[in-house]
């Protein structure tokens, strides 16, 4: 591995032209980005901000108008580099006529995986994404979320060093979303680098070490999640339930010092609550024709050797997702506790799930917290242009 940088872009620019070669859309402008090895990097931005375009340039699916990009120290189109990358496009573009197992075998063969390794990986991944029971069904008959799971499985088939995920959780149920987040955390612990592109902020917040926010094809800010989100001048205390007397004593102490004080029981995140209900249903063996939550993320990871003590522990525990909840909750304690709950709640309450509108609302909230809301007026005008719609 060359140096500490997994992905580096230098003044990367993409201008889309029309048929006559006239410039129409400045999709990415002068983007310089560095993703370090073994880092979960969140790539954020509203629709049409240039996230996907950047990823496509990184992967050689689009040619940069100006600037250049290095992936794992070279060109991503070089087979040696490409064999270390896993890529999940913004939608799972699969061969509808292949079954789930055939699909994974196909991609495994593209990597030239030998017979035994291939079989093992394919079966482990099918179990991991919960599609073992429907492995022989054509993927054309799958729901969007199930197709997403196969898409994720194909991105992992080569045990990649660098995983590029474009909207990995779109179309997934909360269990799948949660599994992907667990997987990302687990992969990061195993030394992988992950570039996560999303506008679902709750997802990004839970797993990313560093984030960059893109708007109008330009980098608006980047940095460590904790540092960016910390509210200055406030602290939070969490305790077990206390007798009313103790609480009022504490209140007195704080008010003597001129501080403000609020008491409320900490809320469970809706995600956690949802997981609990589904697990109960599964424990009662209720049948489903959809995807199964098997909690076998760890099994896939173990196949690639490198035993890790944490992962080993997780294998023993059937309730892996619940165990993995802990690091997330602690993060919440340090940051804003209530807001992410509302985000998840909103997502779950609306049946139609139009991710675009929902995603933009929390987006604005986060922006308020960003210390540097420098939005370039010209860029904004560009974006208002209707030809700019879509994330291209």
């Amino acid at each position: 591995m060359a140096g500490q940088i997994a992905i580096e872009t230098l003044a990367l620019t993409k201008i889309f032209t029309d048929w006559w070669g006239r410039s129409k859309v400045m999709a990415v402008s002068d983007l310089s980005l560095q993703v370090r090895h073994n880092e979960v990097f969140g790539f954020l931005g509203p629709n049409g901000s240039g996230k996907t375009t950047t990823i496509k340039m990184l992967l050689g699916l689009l040619k940069a108008t100006k600037g250049r990009s290095l992936v794992l120290g070279g060109e991503s189109t070089d087979p040696k580099i490409a064999s270390r990358i896993g890529y999940l496009p913004e939608e799972s573009y699969l061969y509808k006529y292949l079954s789930a197992r055939e699909t994974l075998n196909f991609y495994a063969n593209l990597f030239g995986l030998a017979g035994d390794v291939r079989k093992m990986r394919v079966e482990a991944l099918l179990d991991m994404v919960g599609l073992g029971a429907v492995a022989n069904r054509p993927v054309g008959t799958f729901s969007k979320g199930m197709a997403r799971r196969i898409g994720l499985a194909q991105a992992l088939i080569n045990d990649p060093d660098l995983l590029i995920l474009d909207e990995p959780t779109s179309g997934l149920d909360p269990i799948g979303t949660r599994q992907i987040k667990d997987l990302i955390i687990a992969l990061a612990k195993r030394g992988k680098t992950i570039l996560l592109c999303s506008h679902l902020l709750a997802d990004v917040e839970d797993v990313c070490d560093r984030i960059a926010i893109l708007y109008g094809g330009k980098m608006q800010t980047q940095g460590k999640v904790k540092e960016l989100l910390e509210q200055h001048g406030k602290i939070q205390i969490t305790t077990k339930e206390m007798p009313a007397g103790v609480v009022s004593q504490i209140k007195d102490i704080i008010e003597k010092q001129g501080g403000q004080f609020q008491v409320s029981p900490p809320l469970d995140r809706l995600e956690t609550f949802f997981m609990r209900i589904v697990e109960q249903a599964q424990a009662q063996n209720q049948s489903t024709s959809g995807a199964m939550n098997t909690g076998q993320v760890e099994q896939y990871l173990n196949l690639t050797s490198k035993p890790s003590s944490i992962l080993d522990k997780l294998v023993e525990n059937n309730e892996a997702p619940v165990v993995n909840r802990e690091p997330i909750v602690t993060e919440k304690v340090e940051t804003a506790k209530i807001e992410p709950d509302r985000v998840v709640l909103k997502e779950l309450i609306s049946n139609a799930q139009p991710p675009k509108t929902e995603a933009i609302k929390p987006q604005e909230k986060v922006k308020v917290e960003i210390p540097k809301p420098a939005v370039n007026r010209n860029v904004l005008d560009d974006l208002v242009d209707p030809s700019n719609a879509g994330d291209k």
Binding site: L62, I85, Y93, L94, N109
Partner: protein
Amino acid sequence: MPALWAIAKNTIAQAVRMKVAAIFIVLLLILLPLMSVIVTGDGSVKGKLQTFVGYGLSLTSLLLCLLTIIISTYSLSSDIKYKQIWTVVTKPVRRWQVMLGKLLGIIILDFVLLAGFASIIYGLTMLMPRLSHAGPDEMVQLENEFFTARASVKPLIPDVRNEVEEAFSKMQDQGNLPQGMTPLQVRQQLYQQKMLEKQAVPPGQAIAWQFQDVAVFDPNQYIFIRFKYDVSVNPPNMSVYGRWIIGDDRQLAASGSSLKTPIYAPPPQSDSIRTVHELAVPADAVVDGYLGLAFQNLPANNTVVIFPTEDGLEVLYKAGSFQGNFIRAVAVIFIRLVFLAMLGVSLAAWLSFPVAILVCLVIFAMGSMSTFIFESFDALEGSGSVAYTLILKPALNLLPQFDKFAPADFLIKGQYLSLASVLGQAGVMIGIQGAIVLIVGIVIFRFKEMAKVTV
């Protein structure tokens, strides 16, 4: 290369599950046996077989060509349109491998389908004579004229240059040279006139030809005189009454009386005009590859008999087996399919499916009537168009000429199809034309922006 193979396998799966292949397969499976039952030809077993093999192979060729065009233009262009290509080219696979994988898959599919249908046609061809109630004569004729692979020799071209020069100088002396014609044009006209005279036999007169390189390898076999009469005035019953003499005529001049090799003179016979006929003669008439042939136009005909220069007269002899010929004929169809697959995949790399298939079909149609197209464009050249000579003509050289080399015709005529000519076809269609088309496609695909939105 596991990646190449994986893409090939995926392409086959796509074609097989696309239903269009199934439709073509079912169609052929129904039509071929049905055809073997209902074809009649000219009523004889031979005619029936000729019609069946001719139509059967042509139909198989046509349907598989269409199938190849559809699959080859669809496979890659749909991958690009529906974006599955994104997760393929971002894997450790070179783009040319993607194209070659697609091509390989289509070629394998074509090979399997063609082998299957050719076997069915072959099996039915072998079965049909047994099911018919043909007499022994008909069976012999079948064996000699259909279940064989015969090479053909045309008569030596008579040298008429001196006669042309004589006639030319005579015209010059008499001042009869036509106005507005160059000497070359006059000579060409005279040449054609003299050649026609050499092939024309007035009533009551005879004409002789010499053949060389008649490579008979078994003197116990038969050779076949294939001829077609043309006439100056149509006889009442539309047929010509003529006498044929076949053998080594050189020995007549040399010794006079005793013959070392036989000279055959069958009784005079009547044959319809403007139709191809065959006369079977024992092969021992040929001496060291030499054969003499004479025809007498009997006075009763009262018309001049002309042997057309194109297909008026040739000698056929057995040069190979029907089986060998059949396999080579099928190989010619396979070469076509490979070319079309190369063309389709190459076009699909940069054109959308509807455009690519349209271009492919146009080229297929043009290739199927290339003789006509070349002739019409040659007329353009006469008018001295620079654009034609510089641009269109080189491009036309890339056009495959399917019609110039119709494999079914060889089987219908029982004509020997040499391996050399099959390999020559493969060299031109796959090695040159197909390769150029494919390389252009690969280069375009190499630099294509896969994720570019085209509206």
